[in-house]
Symmetry: C2
């Protein structure tokens, strides 16, 4: 969540602020908003780093995978590294950047929603574990003091005088 993360923004993306979508949800979706991108990032959070692993576990076509990985690297959420196992040649691997790590909460929120609203009969297959206490974690709203806030008390509020008032703003 560090503000200096913006240094990792995609370099070809214009620095002119008004060429970006006004809504931060739209900007986020421009980078990670397709099905494969989020599934790849889910696997990255599970610890996968190699092309062949992503391909096997997701059943994704190699050209699509190459395309998505390159886009995610460009978006600054994955980092391509070379590695070499002993007696092997150098290979490529893909690791989460801090921006990618910060997507954990987005994935967790989606997962929590899916578990509740599109359940399987055999229950959740992946849990969100608090590794410090051993308990389970949920995604929720917090106020400035770290106190939980009921979702129904939270409203999206356009900044007064901002551009989010009744025009095409995507």
């Amino acid at each position: 969540m560090s503000p200096e993360m913006s240094l990792e923004m995609s370099p070809e993306m214009s620095t002119e602020t008004d060429t970006l979508p006004t809504c931060s949800i739209a900007r986020a979706l421009d980078l990670v908003g397709d099905r494969w991108a989020l599934l790849i990032l889910r696997e990255a959070h599970r610890g996968f780093t190699r092309f062949a692993d992503f391909r096997e576990v997701l059943g994704i076509a190699p050209n699509i995978l190459a395309n998505r990985l390159a886009a995610l690297v460009e978006a600054g959420v994955l980092e391509k590294r070379e590695y070499r196992a002993e007696g092997e040649r150098t290979r490529s691997s893909y690791h989460l950047t801090p921006a990618g790590v910060d997507l954990k909460i987005v994935l967790a929120a989606l997962q929590q929603w899916g578990d509740v609203h599109v359940p399987r009969a055999d229950g959740p297959t992946v849990l969100r574990r608090n590794t410090r206490t051993g308990g389970l974690a949920t995604v929720g709203f917090l106020d400035e003091n770290g106190e939980p806030v009921p979702a129904e008390d939270v409203a999206f509020e356009p900044v007064p005088g901002g551009p989010a008032d009744r025009r095409i703003w995507r």
Copy 2:
């Protein structure tokens, strides 16, 4: 977050549990995982309900909008209602179901990520306001007691004996 929400699941979706993707993130993405769906839902959370409003504010082609709205109704996150303003004929409107309302936390998490990692020079345009206290709300992890949990302490953990072990599970 009520469990009886599963009654609102898409009726054409098979009840056979093994035809659904194993991962709840994938199941969630099957319903709301394309760019337009999430942007439509964002507008629904801002209070928009009418076809023409969605169309105008998003700049979306009408056939795509009709397609997406129908899919979201079928997915159980929007509900189509007829309404009639006085002196007008009946019209259609689209309202969030409880499942749709529960997506607020997903949209908020995406928005928060976008504000941090793809910022605009003029700052956020939409805030998450705690309507009870007037403060701002953030999205975070909570433990069973409602205490905040640092994101780095939360890990995705496959259920032991579950299907999430090293095969194609999408």
